[in-house]
């Protein structure tokens, strides 16, 4: 009886946010995190005939469209590797990023009924979408393996760098997911802005062209701004590691790592602050 937990509820105050204590509560709720993540994965494709294939259809369809387009235009943005492989290896991290942003940003508002009735660490909701995104990405990667076999491109030791890319991508999605989902509770503009944001972001990221093309064609000062995009390092590192057998551009990785290091703590504190009264405004 003496080991009873003590809970204190006080008015929202940024100075009173204790991220470490919040992380402890999150760790205590790991069973809920696990259950909701499994739920997210199993419910998404239930009642659909193609089921988990949908995780593959989106990047494959985009890859086919762009391959067709570049074939018609007779453009060769990929250099000396087959374009489908080039495009698909960029689309895998990109698809996880874009659908992760869409899902995580509405993670709270789509569970309004739950948030006004039950108390639990709310960050679990956006985080489960990140987990579901990782699962989808693993499935989509199986298609990449098939493509590599088909085109006779082997896997080399450099592929280990892909782990770094995926870790950075996960960190980025955690940070943006926390930030956007919490902001969406108060400002529904976030959800409305999402399609525009994702579209613009796609073209500012070396998904359909190599990072070297951006460096070659952009003026120095614009390229400097371009480099601030944390997704550039993620997509470029993933592609280099898996299909180009090259070491990453460490500068690009450093930018992504710096963004993640700053974004995640800031987003978490903001989230925990908004969490206290989100049930009132959702």
């Amino acid at each position: 009886m003496s080991s009873r937990p003590v809970t204190v509820f006080e008015p929202p105050d940024l100075r009173r946010i204790r991220p470490l204590a919040a992380l402890q509560r999150l760790a205590a709720a790991r069973d809920l995190f696990l259950t909701l993540s499994l739920h997210r994965i199993s419910v998404r494709y239930r009642r659909s005939r193609l089921g988990i294939l949908w995780a593959v259809i989106q990047p494959v369809a985009m890859m086919l469209v762009f391959t067709l387009m570049f074939t018609v235009l007779r453009a060769k943005p990929a250099g000396d590797i087959p374009f489908p492989l080039f495009a698909y290896s960029g689309l895998i991290p990109w698809t996880m990023f874009s659908s992760g942003l869409y899902n995580a940003s509405t993670a709270l508002t789509s569970h309004a009924g739950l948030l006004t009735k039950v108390s639990f660490p709310r960050e679990i909701l956006p985080l489960t979408y990140v987990v579901a995104g990782l699962v989808d990405m693993s499935i989509a990667s199986l298609v990449l393996a098939c493509l590599m076999l088909w085109f006779g491109v082997p896997l080399q030791l450099t592929a280990l760098w892909a782990i770094v890319a995926v870790m950075l991508l996960t960190g980025l999605l955690i940070g943006l997911g926390l930030l956007l989902s919490a902001a969406q509770v108060r400002f529904r503009d976030v959800g409305l802005a999402m399609p525009v944001l994702v579209q613009v972001w796609l073209f500012a990221t070396p998904v359909l062209y190599p990072l070297s093309a951006a460096r070659a064609s952009l003026p120095e000062h614009l390229y400097w701004v371009y480099r601030l995009n944390p997704m550039a390092g993620v997509v470029d590192t993933f592609r280099r590691a898996v299909v180009l057998h090259q070491a990453p551009d460490l500068g690009a990785i450093a930018v992504s790592a710096a963004v993640v290091t700053i974004l995640v703590p800031v987003a978490y504190v903001y989230f925990k602050h908004v969490e206290l009264t989100m049930a009132d405004v959702i």
């Binding site: 937990p5 008015p11 039950v118 206290l276 049930a279 405004v281």
Partner: protein, 400 residues
């Protein structure tokens, strides 16, 4: 367990809501200056009319939203039976939903697995546990939701109107479960419109009115304070036929009791029932009639309305007030949860002087009649043909 430990402590708690999301200035105080302590093992009842702030208070205690001012300190794990079936997903089976809902309410996966059988048993959904809950009846859905919540291990229990869900038998089960937890020393906080239940279950009570504590103390005293305030209350809802309190009379409570069992929670079909209507009068009024009304489980259909006027007995009421008792020797209602209303009228003009504004529930459980709409008090007699031919007809001695 030390007697002096305080499990729940509220210090000058205020909660503001914005009336209009875009205008910062337009706020109203849902709770003001709320302060009380609940000692370990005690049961506190919170009463008040709709919109007084009871549910807001419970949301603060459950950690769903933070107070605007003040401080709440809680010692122990909290289980909130605020809305059962929270987090159920229609596409998932009953079993999967038990795991989902249990996890959302704070149970571990192993804990849920260990309790699964007991949960299914409590809910009485055994054969359907692997059916998606979207095929469940609303009753099954609610029962399963409550069954999960009822199996939470908690030091502190928050209950909000759970008794208003499910059928009568299930409600009795819920009451028993709450009583069981109380006996085990769980500290509880009980919000209800059902004043009889508050008086029965709670050690102390608080009356909340317009966001402030209006009375606190022993349940009977607080319920009495609530009645006095109801009598003073002027209904400004625009109902012109009703003239309380200027009519000089107000109905302050309607309670049910069984002549056989003073502590009865539910009544059986065919069993006797007494309904006591308490009134407060500010002046003598001659020639009034009282009526009690039975509403069907949906609360809409009036299914019976016996009145003192039927027996042409004009009643004369005197200040300060009293009780009118309605007695029924054999309850004709089938199993279910009914809502009981009461009105008092002037006998000559049939003008309504006052009506009961609270929520009094009648739970009818078990009893001899189960399938038909009504139970009719009766007796049977067998008359074989040879006796008939022998000239024995109705009205003769019943067979020994």
């Amino acid at each position: 367990m030390s007697g002096s430990a305080i499990d729940l402590s509220l210090v000058d708690v205020w909660k503001a809501y914005r009336r209009n999301a875009s205008r910062r200035a337009d706020t109203f105080w849902a709770l003001q200056e709320i302060g009380f302590d609940v000692p370990r093992g005690a049961t506190l009842g919170i009463i008040g009319r709709n919109g007084a702030g009871k549910s807001t208070l419970l949301k603060l205690l459950a950690g769903i939203t933070a107070p605007t001012r003040g401080r709440i300190v809680i010692h122990g794990a909290v289980a909130a039976l605020i809305e059962v079936g929270s987090g159920f997903h229609p596409e998932l089976t009953g079993r999967e939903n038990v795991f989902l809902s249990g996890a959302i309410l704070g149970m571990g996966r192993r804990e849920i697995a260990a309790k699964l059988e007991s949960i299914v048993d409590f809910a009485g959904v055994g054969p359907f546990i692997d059916t998606p809950v979207k095929w469940y009846s609303s009753g099954m859905y609610v029962r399963l939701g409550f069954a999960v919540a009822a199996h939470l291990e908690a030091d502190i229990l928050l209950v909000d109107e759970v008794l208003a869900v499910g059928d009568a038998e299930f409600q009795v089960k819920c009451l028993q479960r709450i009583q069981e937890l109380r006996d085990r020393g769980v500290t509880s906080l009980f919000i209800s419109h059902d004043l009889t239940a508050v008086e029965r279950l709670c050690d102390s009570a608080i009356l909340i009115e317009a966001g402030k504590i209006a009375a606190t103390g022993a349940p009977a005293d607080v319920v009495a304070a609530y009645h006095r305030r109801l009598a003073l209350w002027d209904p400004t809802s625009g109902e012109t036929t009703i003239d309380s309190p200027r009519s000089g009379i107000a109905l302050t409570n309607v309670s049910l009791r069984s002549p056989d069992d003073a502590k009865a929670v539910a009544f059986s079909s065919g069993a006797p029932l007494t309904i006591a209507v308490r009134y407060a009068a500010s002046r003598p009024i001659a020639n009034v009639e009282f009526e009690v009304r039975y509403y069907s489980p949906d609360g809409k259909t009036r299914i019976a309305a016996p009145s003192t006027g039927e027996s042409r007995q004009p009643l004369h009421v005197q200040p300060p007030g009293g009780v009118v008792e309605f007695h029924c020797s054999a309850l004709p209602l089938k199993r279910g949860s009914y809502s009981i209303g009461a009105v008092v009228r002037e006998m000559t003009t049939m003008k309504v002087l006052a009506w009961w504004d609270g929520d009094t529930r009648l739970y009818v459980s078990r009893g001899p009649a189960t399938d038909a709409q009504l139970y009719i008090p009766h007796s049977w007699r067998l008359i074989p043909d040879d006796e008939k031919t022998a000239g024995i007809s109705a009205g003769a001695q019943p067979p020994a």
